[in-house]
Structure formats: C-alpha cells, structure tokens
Amino acid sequence: MQAHSGGRFRRRSKALRRVTGLVGLVLALAVLGVGYSAFAPTGNSAAAGPVDAETIAHGKSLFDTSCISCHGANLEGVDGKGPSLIGAGQAAVYFQLATGRMPAKANGAQMPRAIPVFNQQDIDAIAAYVQSMGGGAQLPGSIDIANADLAKGAELYRLNCASCHNFTGKGGALSQGKYAPPLNQATNTEIYAAMLSGPENMPTFSDAQLTPTEKLDIIKYVRASNDTISPGGYDLGGFGPAPEGLIAFLVGMGVIVSITLWSGSRS
C-alpha cells in the first residue's frame, strides 16, 4: 500500500513536470514572438536623394560591374538574358535591388527575395543612373500611411491585388513555377515601388489607375492584414478553410481518439 501510493506520487510529479514544461515552452515562444515583432526592422526610406552627375556616374560604375552582363552596356538588354532597362525608372530599380532579387543569383522561373547586395546609397545611385536613361516611374519623396483609408485600401486590394497575392497577403502560385510572393516581408516602399513598376509578371499600376493616395490606402491594408492578431489564435499560415479543416479533423479527431484509448486503458 505504501509502495503503491509512492508510485502514484512519482507518476504525478512526472505529469506535473510535463505540464510545467509545456507551459514554459508556450511562454518562451510567446516571448520570442513578441520580442521579434518588437525588434524586427520596420523602417524604410527610399526617398530619392540629391541627384547629381556624380551620383549618376557612381551608379553607372556600379551598373557596369554588376548589371551589364544581362542588361547591356547601354541598358538595351541582352537577348535571352535580361530585358532592356531604358525607361524602367527609379521605382523598378529600387524594388529589384532593395528586395535582393537583382543582381540575379541564378536562372529560374522567377527571382526570389534575397538579402540585398547593395546598400541604400548604392541602390539610389544605380536608380539615378537608370532614371537618367529614358526616365520612368519614380517613387515619391515620402510614403506615409498614417492617414491612409484602411477600408478603401481593403476594397482596392481585393479588386486589384487579392487575385494573385491572396486576400491575406500570403501570395500564391502562378503558371509554370512563377508565383506571387507573400507581402509580409515587403516594406511599404517596396510595395509602392512594385505597384508603380510592375516587376516581373506583375501588372503595372500607373498613378492614373491607382492614385498615389489609393496606393497608400492599399499599403495600409497590407500592413493591417499582416499585423492583425488572428482572433482564432493561430492562423495556420492564413491559407483559409482547407488547412483549417484538415488540422481540425486530424488533430481534433486524434486527440479525441487518444483520450478515449487512454481512459479505456486505465479502467
């Protein structure tokens, strides 16, 4: 009897250790998540700096060492390698370089996001050089979404962006290995630049089609969509009802079956 109750006691303390371990894990994850969101870089600035001949010359020298093999000595493009950049504009250069898609690392259906090779100054210089060759779309001086209209942005997002990028901004597949990337990593300026320049297979949205104000509204919606704390707890990647149903079925059923088996084996 004594030995029996001792065994029970040991078992209980083991269970207790497991529970405290689980709680500790959850707490640690929560702290990690909050800490990450506190320290994750959010700032961005792409305001076109002072453009002078010196900057353009610096940009050209960078272009001549990093971009010339695919885009040509005079930005005319190289057949089968890279498109012409004449008239591509500052916004396109900013997007491609700031997201690290260019310079391209390898051939593929689409260039993935990567750590940028150039710093902000160099990006501005190359952008100024490309801008000086035939003009093109340019980013505005500042991108401030504080006063943007979230509801309008949501409506415009659903009409113009959601078909490819998913209404939660998680991105989605296109044909033959191409994809619309998720928007959670993109900064406000990068999203603005993408709308202006239509990188890769994305259509272009001129300022007449989506006014600068409307672009800011859309960016505000993207930010809001990213920053929304899922009211159901974990959002399972935001992919909608299919994974949610699958997890509910597998995990829910699994737990119920395990509890049933466990309680049956104990009696």
Partner: protein
Amino acid sequence: MSTVDKTAVPTGDEMAGMTQEELARLGARLDGVELVEYGPRFEADSPAEKRAERQVAKWFLLSAASALAFILIFVMWPAGYQDPFSSRQWIYALFTPLLGITLGAAILCLGIGVMSIARRIAPHEIAVQQRHVGPSADHDRRTLGAELMDTLDKTGLKTRRGVLKSSLLLAGGGLASAAILAPIGGLIRNPWAQGKDSELWVTPWKPAADGTLVRLTMQDGSFVRPEDLATGSLMTVFPGVPGGATASDAAVMLFRLRPNEPIRVRTGQDGFNYGEFFAFSKICTHVGCPVSLYEDQTGRVLCPCHQSQFDIHDGAKPVFGPATRPLPQLPISVDQEGYFVAVHDFIEPVGPGFWESFQGSTPWGSHPEVQPQPKPVFPPFGQLPKENP
C-alpha cells in the same frame, strides 16, 4: 446465450423477497453478465471515501468556475473592434480565444468529473460476460431463410403478379419524380425564350435604345481614358450604367499590351481592340470565377478556381485547365471626349459555356445579330492581323 438459458426467471413472489442488491445481480445475470466481484468501494464516511469525493468534486468546481469565467468574459470583456494599428488590439484579439478556452474547460472538467465518479466512487465490480462466437446457430439461419422465402412464394411476387409489381414500380417512380420536380422544376427555363433579348445574349454593355454607347468605368464610377493605363497593365472595368459594377456578367478586364507584342485575334473579331488595348470578359468560361491573375510578361490570365489559363496574346484562347472557350472579347473604342466605350455588346454568351458548343451556333438557335460561324479558327502565327485604332 447459454447463461441466459440456464438462469431461470424467478416468480413474482420470489422476487418480492429479494434485496435490492440481489435484484441487481439477478438483472445482470439475466443479461448474461456474472458479477464476480461487486460491492461498495469504501466504507461509508471513511477518510478514503472523503478523499475520493473531494477529488471528484474538484473537477466539478473547476467546471463551474470555468463556466462562470466564460459568463464574466462574455458580459464584461471590452471586446470592441480595435484595428491592427491600435495598441489595444491584443485585448480585442483575446476575446474569442478566451471564450473558447473557458467554455472548453467547463465542458472538459465536467466530463472528467463524470468519468472519475465511475472510476473512484461507483461500486467496485468485476463482471464477466459470456459472448457467443461466430454466426447464429445453423437451425436459426435455416428456419429464418425458409420463413422469408416461403412468404415470398405464397404471396406470388416471385413468379406471378406482374401487374402488381409494375404498378408498384410506377408508384415509386412517380413519387420520386414528383419529389425531385418540386425543388428543381422551377430552375428549368428556356434561356433563349426572349429571342435576341434573351438573358445570355444581353449584358449591361449593350448600347442604349437611342444608340448611346456604354462607357468603361472604374469601380468608383470614373471613366477610363487610354492614358490611364501604363503599358503592361490590367484594369478591371465595369459598364457605366446604373448597377453596372455589380452585374454578374459585366466585369471586364482592360489590358494595355506592349506595343511590339505579336498579337493574334479571333476570326471575325478584327478591330475589337483599340490599338494595344484589349478588353476581355473577366468571367471564366469554365464555371464563372473571376479570372484576373494576369502574368504581364507571358500574357496569360489565370483563373484561381481551377487553374484555367487564357492567352491574351492569342485571342484569350484557353491554353491550360478545364475551360474550353476563349474569354469573350468586348469591342472597344474611344468616344468624342476621349473615354473608352463599348462599341456593342459581347457577341457570345459570357461565362460558363454549357449552353452552347461554340461561338454563335447552338442546338437551340443562333445569335440573332451575328452570323453563325464554324468553330473559331486562328490564323497561323505569321499572319498577324493589322491593328490600327
């Protein structure tokens, strides 16, 4: 089975003399269950019983506390919407999970409590139940089969009574048809009954009776000029008539393709485009989802529902997926004031193509204003039609 047979059912008098426990054991025995060990788990009012009672009550109290917490949270939690830019978003976002956790805990604790009554307090028993193995006894099966077949033979349903059988079949079939007709019948209509005004031929893009052409508008109702679209862009446009932005068959994708792009147009649809501007229905010809995943460089639009792909550079011909018809093209031009207008309505039904086999010709009749045409033929790639606004 054998146990039941061996147990004689006592008479009423005998049962009157039995105790409650004896009756309980008898009931179990009559059901083929022998209680080998049976009795209270504890002595009444013993410390062990008190402890077991407390252990069970703990779960019920926890359940009650969770339910109370649920009620308090439901009533008092500041659950008003907070947008993601608010520092109070956490409070809003916690509301639903807290309700779920408290109500779930209340149900779970109640269940565990009930289970632990059975495990800790209910009488201690070890029961043995006799179970018969395999199928019923041979004589059982033979007699049952004979009984059924004999009834069937004597009724004559197997060999005779043709009228009875066919009338029964008729009655069942009739009732089933009537039951199906009631909900479905109202949906069956002749879509071509109104001739050239039939629903499938007419969209809000149709010019007004006085010949006024319908302008292309953005979602907010503003008109569209060619210079509003950058090269390589897509704009969803709607007919500039009341209700145009919400009509299910009216949404159109307006593309501005690259000027040097080799483009093919479908036979009989020359001049539907305005220079490098092309307008195609946004409604997929498979089951009517909005197609608008536009790949600006390959010229493909993808339908998100079933991955149909249409080649905008080739008359919006389906090149992948289940769609079989090209997206109908809307003939566009620019009016005196420089805004895009629809020159006339679509020349083929918009959306799912199950009503017609190919353009302009159907088993039910042809489009009243368009000559019936054979299956659309695309010219060979070298012979590009001249495009000239």
